[in-house]
Symmetry: C2
Subunit: 293 residues, 2 copies
């Protein structure tokens, strides 16, 4: 996806939030914003938004001199999400269509901001999202939901690449992966994490902490942007990406980085969070998206 | 009020909205944003937000080469608001406390964005706001509402300065001014407009178009920022500002420019629209504010 002018105010908001989350002083927060404003002139709108995200979060890391400013938050998110694992597994088990339900759960996991939430809030949030989803099904709010294509491709695929997104939410990915493995024990699944710390994106250590390694091979994309930008991914990753039969991409960052930029079709799994994305693909805010494109 | 770092993303959003409202091409919109990012480094956070507003809107005017890019919108807003005048006068007449009601109406007028609305929408919006206001009264959402002080000062004042805000909304100011005049026919009222076109802020021509001149003297502040920044106002205005017994200031822009910057207390009349302002004065978004300070 290209960058729209509407992304620019949002870049500044993200930069400010990132600097604050890294506990930067007000002077340092301002320095991050000034760096971003200088970068703006050089930035091409043909780049995808996560390209600027890469600049912003690397700059926060550089200016705050913290290698992984969100490490604690990520660990907290993983622990919190893991505490819901038994309850969620039960829900999947009792669902009418467990594969569909675990897909929906994976989206639900994508929209929770664990960083600032407590156990009780997340519990309530999951219930709300699931209630909304049933509502959504009834009211056809799933404007883009290529589930038949997903089932078809899943049946045929031998090797599946699964691009992860944030810490915490990967517990929800684990549930989807377990569901796939239960149905098709012989499928190879490769779970992809980021190379270096970037916001609260999952790293290999998060994937291990959340038990993904019992069901999938964990590799890094070689990329340190909040979305998987193919042009800066490692050769090893690109080789596996090319060879896999099916690609599942989680989160809006990966969508922004990959949509229309990859030669192969990808299953994008996310909840539409911003007006630029909804305009780009023709859906509404909070729509549940399973887009094959 | 000082500028907070949270104002910065909002400046970019305002700049983009302003460029689009002036029908600028995408390339020109980008140019406006780049200009703003260059200005950012020079800008002191001790300045009030409307100081940056002045830069943004003057830049849009300069780059788009349009002296008054919002002229049509302002005329449309005035006409639309005038079409509601008879209905609103009736409502005031039948109100339990017509002065209070016309004060509330003046705030209601402040939050309507006439530029993009149709008659039916505005009608619905006014009804909603008034319903919300009654709700607000019941639930004590008027956290800051110095009405007793307003009544007391109004009774004593000989000359009142009324700082206007946007085109369209000045029809609502007219209703409040008429209410004051009905109660106190001998009060002198000076209605203040902006010197040069700045977004949809009311100019002298708007004040005449909306009939303010039948009840008040119309003068300009000499200022071309979206709030009345005293340091760049004309000497003539400052003389009158100093001599007046009571100052009524409409809108958030005037609040941001004048609050804690004026040696004399002012009645600020607006609906809190942004989290920075609510934090600054300790209220909630959408609170109805009549602040004497």
């Amino acid at each position: 996806m290209k960058t729209y002018l509407d992304c620019i105010p949002c870049f500044f908001k993200q930069a400010l939030d990132a600097a604050r989350l890294a506990k930067a002083s007000e002077a340092v927060q301002r320095e991050v914003l000034i760096s971003l404003s200088k970068e703006l002139e050089r930035f091409s709108l043909d780049s995808c938004p996560p390209q600027m995200g890469k600049f912003i979060y690397n700059k926060v890391r550089e200016i705050t001199k913290k290698r992984d400013p969100y490490k604690e938050i990520k660990e907290k998110s993983n622990k919190l999400a893991l505490s819901f694992y038994p309850k969620l597994k039960d829900k999947v088990k009792n669902a009418k269509d467990p594969l569909l339900f675990s897909l929906e759960l994976a989206i639900a996991g994508n929209i929770i901001d664990y960083g600032v939430k407590h156990s009780l809030d997340v519990d309530r949030e999951i219930d709300n999202i699931l209630a909304e989803e049933s509502e959504a099904i009834r009211h056809e709010s799933k404007a883009i939901f290529n589930y038949p294509e997903f089932k078809k491709e899943l049946k045929q695929a031998k090797c599946i690449i699964y691009l992860g997104d944030n810490a915490g939410e990967i517990v929800f990915d684990r549930i989807l992966i377990e569901q796939i493995k239960e149905k098709y024990p012989k499928k190879d699944i490769i779970y992809v994490v980021k190379e270096k710390p970037i916001i609260n994106d999952a790293l290999a250590e998060d994937a291990y902490m959340c038990g993904i390694d019992s069901h999938a091979e964990i590799i890094s994309s070689g990329c340190d942007s909040p979305g998987t930008i193919l042009s800066i991914c490692s050769k090893d990753f690109l080789k596996k990406f090319k060879l896999a039969d099916m690609v599942i991409s989680k989160g809006q960052g990966n969508f922004e980085a990959l949509y229309k930029k990859s030669k192969r079709p990808v299953f994008f799994l996310f909840m539409a969070k911003c007006p630029v994305v909804t305009k780009d693909i023709g859906c509404k805010i909070k729509d549940i998206i399973l887009l094959y494109g």
